[in-house]
């Protein structure tokens, strides 16, 4: 990017991303006395994985026994890579914040005893409220303004730069603390609301030397109509499955069933387990977004077969992300915090997926903690970010490096090559050492060309950077996956060669580096002990 940005702002805290995690972070930072700017690639209120659908949440009353049970069950599911203290923290915090959402006007339903049912949030409604709350707290919101790179000096991070794509100008926000809340990476697989999620935050963090954790736990696909984007699949519990000859194939939406069936040929579903008009009416009303594509395609899902596919969800309903090292979701780099799907969710989900209630709850809690931590950090800084000697940290996919015209590589070509290694079930679902090694080799080859993209306008500039971010994310994923030579509980990672869970590998894997990717292990911190006090065992593992 050019040396000085056309739009310059200074704040205490910059929040990058306006999904639930970013919205809560911005609200929390502002409530704790900070001057806050929030930038979103799209629009705070409609953008990201939550907005177009909705999420179930963890809403457990503060009953000790109930909570202990929930924690124990999650620890087991998550291959003992989570931490009970963190799960408890989330259960406490989300309970409080859901009460707040109701105060802010969310119309939670009450049961027959008058108890509010705060375990589900309708995406559009929830995020419209969050936009109002964030603005009311005094946060300056820049929509349609993707961040492209962080600003750094020897003290750490001090803001970011990006583009405002509808005004065709560059912006720079200087702030002594930055929260990355850019969501996960779903590799443009057309899942509902997920094409804005290209791992931009991972790359930005990686460029300033932050590690990522849990990137091997990314074997996550969601059923969706083959023609459409709707990856909300809960209602498929009412489906029976058929092959193209109309023969029933027995299985459910969980586990390997769909992936295995799809390898053999097309799979169709009919929701004929909802066999009374009453049930059907219920389902229709509870999940308008689920029925919308079928209704519009003229398919009566209760009686007619519809074709299914699996869409890759990467780290959205996978688990890996930026490593956080303290209760306030800070990272190892000064002034840098991470929240939501941008951060690793291993601390509460271990090796299991956080989809289904944990992720949405995590977005709320980690946002709240990161915002507060960022405010405290920024307000304790003696120097204004405006006068720091900050330099842009972006190195990849920012254009302008191709040495000759012949070297120019279109982003679209690279995206296709990345998707070819990441989306196929045969590579990423049915993981084998050989398959992943070959894929990683090809991804390295893509990586070597990310700086040969030469974007000509704002749209291409954003695409080129997204391409680099996806390539980096994919390499981190597969490097970590090759280093975990086991199949751990939760279903998010396995290697055919190593079908069992190995006690010796009950640790986390941290990846870092862009030119060369390296991996090391970290012991799961003992519950109740401050995370920073536990030294990471840094037994170096060779990548690949």
């Amino acid at each position: 990017m050019s040396d000085s940005a056309e739009r310059q702002l200074t704040a205490d805290v910059l929040v990058i991303g306006g999904g639930p995690a970013g919205a809560w972070a911005a609200w929390s930072a502002a409530t704790n006395g900070a001057k806050v700017v929030l930038v979103d690639k799209g629009y705070l209120g409609s953008s990201g994985a939550t907005a177009p659908g909705g999420t179930n949440l963890l809403y457990l009353p503060p009953d000790k026994e109930m909570r202990e049970q929930a924690v124990a069950s999650r620890m087991k599911q998550g291959g003992y890579l989570a931490e009970p203290a963190w799960i408890h923290r989330v259960l406490d915090q989300v309970y409080t914040n859901l009460e707040l959402i109701e105060k802010w006007g969310y119309p939670f339903v009450r049961d027959e005893n008058g108890t509010p049912m705060r375990d589900h949030l309708h995406g559009p409604e929830y995020m419209a409220i969050m936009r109002k709350v964030v603005k009311r707290a005094g946060v300056k919101v820049l929509d349609q303004s993707p961040a492209l790179e962080l600003l750094v000096d020897e003290f750490g991070v001090g803001g970011a730069r990006g583009v405002s794509r509808q005004d065709d100008l560059t912006w720079e926000v200087r702030a002594n603390a930055v929260v990355i809340a850019t969501g996960g990476c779903a590799f443009l697989s057309n899942g509902l609301g997920c094409n804005v999620l290209t791992g931009d935050g991972y790359l930005m963090a990686g460029e300033v030397g932050v590690e990522l954790s849990g990137m091997e736990f990314t074997r996550k696909y969601a059923p969706s109509p083959a023609f459409g984007s709707n990856t909300r699949s809960r209602l498929l519990g009412w489906a029976t499955y058929y092959d193209s000859d109309g023969n029933e194939i027995v299985g459910g939406r969980q586990g390997d069933f769909l992936a295995e069936a799809l390898l053999k040929g097309p799979v169709y579903a009919i929701m004929n387990k909802a066999d009374t008009p009453e049930k059907q009416a219920f389902l229709r009303k509870s999940h308008a977004i689920f029925f919308l594509p079928y209704d519009r395609a003229g398919i009566d899902v209760f009686t007619e077969p519809f074709p299914l596919t699996l869409r890759y969800e990467g780290t959205v309903r996978g688990t890996g992300g930026i490593r956080i090292v303290d209760d306030d979701c800070s990272t190892t780099v000064g002034g840098l915090f991470a929240a939501g799907d941008a951060a690793t969710r291993e601390r509460i989900t271990g090796s299991a997926s956080g989809g289904g209630a944990f992720n949405a709850s995590w977005a709320i809690c980690s946002g709240t903690w990161a915002g507060k931590g960022a405010a405290a950090h920024a307000l304790s800084h003696r120097q204004s970010a405006a006068t720091r000697d900050l330099k842009p940290a972006g190195r990849y996919g920012l254009g302008g490096v191709a040495s000759s015209f012949e070297n120019v590589v279109p982003s679209q070509e690279l995206i296709k090559e990345i998707q070819d290694q990441v989306l196929p079930l045969t590579i990423n679902y049915f993981r084998t050492e050989q398959g992943l090694k070959q894929a990683l080799h090809r991804l390295d080859n893509v990586w070597n060309r990310v700086n040969s993209q030469t974007p000509q306008n704002v749209r291409e500039q954003v695409r080129a950077r997204e391409t680099a971010a996806m390539a980096a994310t994919a390499r981190w994923m597969y490097t970590a996956a090759l280093s975990r030579k086991e199949t751990r509980s939760g279903g998010l990672h396995g290697l055919a060669e190593y079908p069992g869970q190995d006690e010796e590998q009950q640790h986390r894997l941290l990846v870092s580096g862009l030119e060369e990717v390296s991996v090391r292990t970290e012991q799961v911190p003992v519950s109740g002990v401050a995370v920073t006090a536990v030294a990471a065992t840094s037994e170096e593992v060779q990548a690949g």
Partner: protein, 110 residues
């Protein structure tokens, strides 16, 4: 993908331009937004929800353009259908305040 911007219904509020997460629309010189980057559409239906006058139609197909016209969408009663279902718009009750989800969870055994 986004297929239709109804010129007869559009009131040029540019809400769709603002809210589209993938920046598919451009402001039109005559005030009617233009579908400028249809390829970038992620079929999330958000523009439809935010359009105050039901002037947009997003086809369910996320993989290809189907090429439905405004007249066809109008005739088939497709404009505004989603807003009605989620209870967005004047005088409607948002779906969030219904007890369907709660009753569903009593119903569901998974």
């Amino acid at each position: 993908m986004i297929e239709v911007v109804s010129e007869s219904r559009c009131v040029s509020c540019n809400q769709c331009v603002s809210v589209c997460p993938t920046n598919v629309f451009d402001r039109g010189e005559d005030g009617i937004p233009v579908i400028a980057r249809q390829d970038d559409c992620q079929t999330c239906f958000m523009c439809e929800l935010y359009c105050p006058v039901d002037a947009l139609y997003v086809a369910p197909d996320s993989e290809q353009v189907i090429g439905i016209s405004e007249q066809e969408a109008e005739q088939q009663g497709l404009l505004g259908g989603y807003r009605e279902k989620v209870g967005w718009g004047k005088g409607r009750k948002p779906v969030a305040s219904h007890d369907y989800m709660y009753r569903l969870s009593l119903f569901a055994r998974f």
